[in-house]
Point group: C2
Chain length 114, copies 2
């Protein structure tokens, strides 16, 4: 379960980003990523990745990623690294350090690196 097999095809996208776009009614206990601006930040991330000429990356909206309290949330696969995407500056840093350079942005990570 959850393991790559030696016969698996090559990855279709080098980095596949999913940004939670879930919207709940106002006043819901758990809140939601859309009320914290996730849709505009996803649009910004997509546009910036294109402007920067980053290839092989797709930046999708998704349904509820179920980490609402920590949002706006995004996850980057195949690494499975989760980020709080709460400003344009955070988006820029994640694009540059994680996607382009292959590093991490610990200050924005939902789960701390070891």
């Amino acid at each position: 379960m959850g393991k790559t097999l030696p016969t698996d095809p090559a990855p279709y996208f080098t980095a596949h980003v999913f940004v939670c776009g879930n919207r709940r009614p106002e006043g819901h206990d758990r809140g939601c990523c859309a009320s914290k601006g996730s849709e505009k930040l996803r649009d910004y991330m997509k546009a910036r990745a294109k402007e920067l000429g980053i290839k092989g990356v797709r930046i999708n909206q998704s349904g509820c990623l179920d980490r609402c309290e920590l949002g706006p949330c995004a996850v980057i696969y195949p690494e499975g690294v989760w980020y709080r995407l709460d400003s344009r500056e955070a988006v820029d840093e994640i694009l540059q350090k994680h996607i382009v350079e292959g590093g991490r942005v610990p200050t924005q990570m939902l789960d701390q690196p070891s």
Copy 2:
């Protein structure tokens, strides 16, 4: 780019499935997954996974995965294996063989295994 680092946190979900829920206007050249029933198949997959008691798996809807002509499309991470999700039987087989047993369902894969 796209590589796991030794310091990365443990995966939050053992298997994270994204099912394309994109809907385009009727008559669009590329078609879309929603017009081929992807939304109901995603709901079915989510319900079946729950009925089967599969833990650690999340089955999300996503925006356009950009493989419209091959849809209804789904991708399972962190493996990054893509499937055509075109019937309840396909959903059952993918849940059992891929998610539960850690194998593959080559007849439904968008990219052939080597």
